[in-house]
């Protein structure tokens, strides 16, 4: 076993072992520390994956495969069913793996300081680690069945986090609201998963293999199969991403989830959908992708516009941020829908940027709600008078979210538009114009948010705030602030590793 293979296994094994250790540690605080350490080690392993890339793959055959993992582990798992435990990491998945590990670490660290009411901190940290395993596994799996399994692992722990620690208050109405949100999340995404399962087996049955490396590029699937498979897979991933109009689980789940749950949901869970779309749906059924691209593009732009317009009329802080994800993921999906190298790279960096920025926004919204005990915009005002630093950070996050050039959010959104222009033709030019207008609407609702929350005279809820920030808050937020700046100034951090795999993927699309 090479070092790379060892790391690959470690990235998955560490959070599993961490979750077990947390469950086995009797004392609550000690357990949370153990969980945080496990998350930190996972991050180290995830970052280390980048070392030794380029040595892992060997060009075999005349046409090298379109997916060339840096490191791969391929072990038989259930030989009778021809299931293999096949993991690998490349430039498309690595940034997301690191983002997942980072956000989980920040959430675990945040939980050291504050555990939302409703359950023990120990159980929360253990569940966070289980969710992490599922997400990481989804990004690393190179076997369709394995991919599906990891995709499903997340569902129940996330449900438990929403129902167990979510909402505000213990009154029956609040409990009912979060139960309903959790149920909706679980059932809706389960519906997507059913389609994913069918899609996976359509592909596996037709191609006789579940190996993503072998399948990428169509692998001799007939046109009919590809269209069917792409439709099934795309709808499944569209639920997760979420693509309008399959998004309505998201606002409830994000609003009701505890801060750490919202951060993980928005930060990385949604990315499983877009990642799956790029790696599985587009990769396995390129002909289907070409066939469906205009529809996907139109829906993506609809998501941008509708999401932004809804945000303009939102009256609740967390709900507004949740809906903003619909718009932002619309840009990512538009990038994918163009099926160009520019568009897919824009989608990748848009994914990472949205994870960083929306993660930060949810942390800040959680902090504001924890302090003022309300998220209703009309009850919030004048934050900059009493808590200038918190208000400054909120302004930074909002500005990053509206895609200010020089910060992370810019690249994904601007270049999704550029990619649509690049495709050309009346349809795509119209989509580019509408998406760019969506960018202006994004600015409108985020500035409205800032005006409501930070400007004006302090409301009673805000007037009593103390100006300081807790150390744990700073520790959780500063990495995200710095990353939003760093990715904005040096997009190569994300796209440098993705260039070659995206070129390879686009190569099979032609």
């Amino acid at each position: 076993m090479t070092f790379g293979e060892f790391l690959l296994v470690a990235v998955l094994a560490l959070p599993v072992l961490g979750a077990l250790a947390v469950a086995a540690t009797p004392r609550d605080r000690a357990a949370r520390v153990v969980g945080t350490v496990a998350a930190a080690l996972t991050l180290v392993a995830a970052v280390a994956l980048v070392a030794g890339r380029g040595m892992g793959w060997v060009a075999y055959g005349a046409t090298p495969p379109a997916v060339r993992p840096w490191h791969a582990v391929d072990l038989p798992w259930v030989p009778g069913l021809d299931l293999r435990f096949h993991l690998g990491v490349d430039g498309i998945s690595w940034p997301l793996v690191v983002l997942t590990a980072l956000l989980t670490l920040l959430c675990c660290g945040y939980s050291l300081w504050r555990v939302p009411a409703g359950g023990s901190g120990r159980a929360l940290v253990a569940l966070l680690l289980v969710v992490e395993v599922g997400i990481l596994g989804t990004f690393l799996a190179l076997d369709l069945v394995l991919f599906f399994l990891f995709f499903e692992v997340i569902l129940l722990p996330m449900y438990a986090i929403i129902v167990g620690w979510g909402g505000d208050g213990a009154d029956p109405a609040a409990v009912d609201a979060r139960r309903r949100a959790g149920r909706k999340f679980a059932l809706y995404t389960l519906f997507g998963s059913v389609l994913l399962l069918v899609g996976v087996y359509v592909v596996v049955a037709a191609a006789g293999t579940a190996d993503i490396v072998a399948l990428t590029g169509g692998a001799g699937l007939s046109r009919g199969t590809q269209l069917a498979a792409f439709t099934l897979l795309a709808v499944a991933f569209a639920v997760k991403s979420p693509l309008w109009p399959l998004h309505s689980w998201l606002p409830d789940a994000h609003t009701q989830a505890p801060t750490v749950g919202s951060v993980l949901l928005a930060g990385v869970l949604l990315k499983m959908g877009t990642y799956g779309l790029v790696r599985v749906a587009v990769g396995v059924a390129p002909e289907g992708a070409r066939w469906a691209a205009p529809v996907l593009g139109v829906l993506a732009v609809a998501a941008i516009l509708v999401g932004s317009l809804i945000c303009l009329a939102q009256t609740e802080l967390k709900r507004l941020i949740a809906y903003s994800s619909v718009g932002h993921m619309g840009f990512v999906l538009l990038g994918v829908a163009t099926l160009t190298a520019t568009g897919i790279q824009a989608a990748l960096i848009g994914n990472v940027a949205h994870g960083i920025i929306t993660g930060l926004l949810f942390f800040l919204a959680g902090a504001i709600k924890d302090r003022t005990h309300t998220g209703v915009l009309s009850e919030l005002s004048g934050l900059r008078e009493t808590a200038p630093r918190l208000s400054g950070l909120l302004a930074f996050a909002a500005v990053a979210s509206l895609g200010l050039p020089g910060l992370a959010g810019f690249w994904g959104e601007a270049f999704a538009v550029v990619a649509a222009v690049e495709v050309g033709g009346a349809l795509w030019l119209t989509l580019a114009v509408l998406a760019a207008l969506g960018g202006a609407l994004t600015a409108a609702y985020l500035l409205r948010l800032l005006r409501r929350v930070t400007h004006g005279r302090p409301t009673p809820a805000v007037a009593g705030l103390r100006p300081g920030l807790a150390g744990a808050e700073l520790v959780a937020w500063v990495p995200l602030v710095l990353l939003a700046l760093a990715v904005g100034l040096a997009p190569t951090l994300v796209l440098g590793v993705a260039e070659a795999p995206v070129e390879a993927l686009v190569g099979v699309l032609r």
Binding site: A313, G392, P405, G406, L447
Partner: protein, 650 residues
């Protein structure tokens, strides 16, 4: 990278670092007063040092630069489209950089005195100086980035960061209830224009395969692409440079502190749009349609701004509308194909408008109001401010030999050339339009400049003040320093050392337009110069005559029924509100309702339907014994029948 390009790269970097460090300082005093003083002092030091450093670099660049210089490195390559990090320097860039840095320095110094707890302020006034100074530094850095940038995406970075800084600074004064709305309007209106700017950049970049300005200019774009891209870019230019119909944010932006108004109006923000067009002028020169649109836009803006300025009572709003009008002169010069004239006017305007705002700040500081109806008779009490304002207003109206006269004359000569002799790339009717609008504008400008002077400094005082006085030294010196270029900069337009220096900065391509000064200098002393001078006298005399008749009455009363229309700038704000803001808000409400009722309603309905179906089926199965037994028997019979039929058939 040689010394020249290194200087160019450092130019935005120095204020950027000052700004970023300044943002880390504690924003407001906490606990002991000493801590606040330290933070404030550090903030002042950083802000002034950043601006002074930038000014030194810009001046050094002006002298080191002996030819166009360019250096770039790949920033990121996204799917075959190259984005570069690079600088592109020429004489125009260096001169504009000097103007930006000089105004920024004046504003930084002036602010230290202007944003200070005064004797009549509330005890709890907290000016939050550290973030304020840091944001000015960022603003300067962003504008300098626009000036030196050699790549369209990099230019866009500076372009939008400027929008953000203007937003933050306009909303800075927390005692003004209208400030947040004005700030939001400034950012949003310019952002709407930037939709076009981004699309224009995308078209050009995709067409050229690179976003580097040199590559974009060198590429042979298709005619359709070029026209579309130039028109889209103009949307962004209109937003940033406050051109009709996206000019509505600028007068409201007066809610910002006065030094910020000086910064936005003189050197940053509004200058960026004009400058961006000069940067890409070869593209515009090749698209007469875009120039025609620009010419119409410029003429409308020029007259609209000038007329709106006639009826304002707020001194800052007069100046704001005059900026709108003067930027119209610059875009008019661009439309008739004369970037040098536009840039010359941009530079003189930077000097005299910064001077006017800072002098107005001194007046507001001492009177405690921005309304001219509460000023008057300040001439004797504030001699320094008075004479500086005279210089500024004279330059604004175009009184010889002050700077504005020469630069405005350059614009008029270019328009006249296009109108009468068909000079330049624009159609002749555009020349006529710009020329006539500019001539009318001269008279109107002279009228409102005279009115401002008379209402503020002459006559009897309208507020019985204890002691109107000239401002303290820290406010006075920046004003005095700016009065020098406001008075004399126009003379630099004569052929001589200045333009010889500049002539050497020609791009290798003789067709290139980036050169600031044509060989013969920018001064055109032809007999037609008498025409604007006559109009100037007419305008000033009319205002003076009105004031002479009744020194107490506002000369604007002569406007009669037009006065409220002008005061509200032809009610374009209401139009914008009715056509854009309200429909968008309504659409938002509708989208939300639709999403909750229809999209989510379908999901919830599916859930409810599934439960109802399950409940119904469950109820069917909860039957009494006889019926259940009958159902079992019936089922068995059916299965048997089916088996017999299928078996029989087989």
């Amino acid at each position: 990278m040689n010394t020249t390009t290194l200087l160019g790269a450092l130019l935005p970097a120095v204020p950027l670092v000052a700004g970023l460090v300044g943002l880390l300082l504690p924003p407001s005093p906490r606990g002991a007063a000493t801590e606040q003083d330290t933070a404030r002092r550090v903030a002042i030091g950083l802000g002034v040092a950043g601006a002074a450093g930038a000014l030194a670099l810009a001046v050094a660049l002006l002298f080191v630069l002996n030819g166009p210089a360019e250096a770039s490195t790949t920033w990121i390559d996204i799917g075959g489209l190259t984005v570069t990090l690079g600088v592109r320097l020429d004489g125009a860039a260096a001169l504009v950089a000097v103007a930006v840095a000089a105004v920024a320095l004046a504003v930084q110094v002036y602010s230290t005195g202007y944003l200070k707890r005064g004797p009549h302020d509330d005890v709890d006034v907290d000016h939050r100086y550290p973030p304020y100074a840091a944001q000015i530094s960022l603003f300067t850095a962003a504008m300098l980035l626009v000036v030196v940038s050699g790549d369209l995406i990099l230019l866009l970075v500076g372009w939008e960061v400027m929008g953000l800084c203007s937003y933050l600074l306009i909303a800075h004064d927390r005692r003004l209830p209208e400030a947040p709305a004005a700030a939001m309007k400034a950012f949003l209106v310019t952002r709407v224009g930037d939709v076009g700017f981004l699309l224009g950049i995308a078209l050009l970049g995709v067409s050229a395969g690179s976003f580097r300005i040199a590559d974009v200019l060198a590429h042979d774009h298709g005619a359709g692409t070029l026209t579309a891209a130039c028109l889209l870019l103009l949307a962004g230019v209109a937003g940033k440079s406050a051109q009709f119909p996206l000019h509505t944010w600028l007068p409201d932006a007066m809610a910002g502190p006065t030094p910020i108004s000086a910064l936005i109006h003189a050197a940053t923000m509004v200058a960026a749009g004009v400058y961006a067009v000069t940067r890409l002028f070869p593209l515009f020169a090749a698209t007469p349609v875009a120039l025609a649109v620009l010419g119409v836009m410029a003429s409308v803006t020029l007259l609209l701004g000038a007329l709106a300025a006639t009826a304002q009572d707020d001194i800052k709003r007069v100046l704001a509308w005059s900026t709108v009008s003067q930027i119209g002169y610059m875009t008019g010069a661009l439309a008739v194909g004369s970037p040098p004239a536009a840039l010359f006017h941009l530079l003189t305007h930077a000097a005299f408008k910064a001077l006017l705002f800072l002098a107005a700040g001194a007046v507001i500081h001492t009177v405690g109001s921005t309304l001219m109806s509460r000023m008057g008779g300040l001439r004797h009490a504030m001699p320094v401010t008075f004479w500086c304002t005279v210089v500024g207003l004279g330059a604004l109206a175009g009184v010889p030999p002050l700077s504005g006269f020469w630069s405005k004359e350059g614009v008029l000569a270019a328009a006249e050339g296009a109108a009468l002799h068909g000079d330049g790339p624009a159609p002749a009717w555009v020349g006529w339009l710009v020329w006539l609008a500019a001539l009318v504008g001269v008279a109107v400008t002279a009228w409102y400049a005279t009115r401002l002077l008379l209402r503020t400094f002459f006559g009897a005082t309208r507020t019985p003040l204890a002691h109107p006085h000239d401002p303290p030294a820290v406010l006075r010196w920046p004003v005095l320093a700016l009065a020098v270029p406001a008075a004399l900069l126009g003379l630099a337009g004569f052929p001589g050392w200045f333009s010889t220096q500049l002539r050497r900065t020609r791009w290798v391509d003789p067709e290139a337009w980036s050169d600031l000064m044509p060989l013969g200098g920018l001064i055109h002393l032809t007999p037609t110069v008498l025409l604007p001078l006559a109009l100037l006298l007419v305008g000033a005399a009319l205002a003076w005559a009105g004031w002479r008749r009744d020194a107490e009455a506002d000369p604007a009363a002569a406007l009669g029924p037009l006065r409220p229309v002008f005061a509200r700038a032809f009610r374009l704000d209401d139009v914008q509100h009715a056509l854009v803001v309200r429909p968008t808000t309504a659409l938002g409400q509708a989208a939300r309702a639709g999403d909750e009722r229809v999209v989510d309603g379908a999901v919830l309905g599916t859930g409810r339907a599934a439960r109802a179906l399950g409940g119904g089926l469950g109820a069917l199965h909860r039957a009494a014994l006889p019926r259940a037994a009958a159902a079992v028997l019936a089922g068995a019979l059916l299965i048997g029948l089916a088996a017999a039929l299928i078996g029989g058939a087989a």
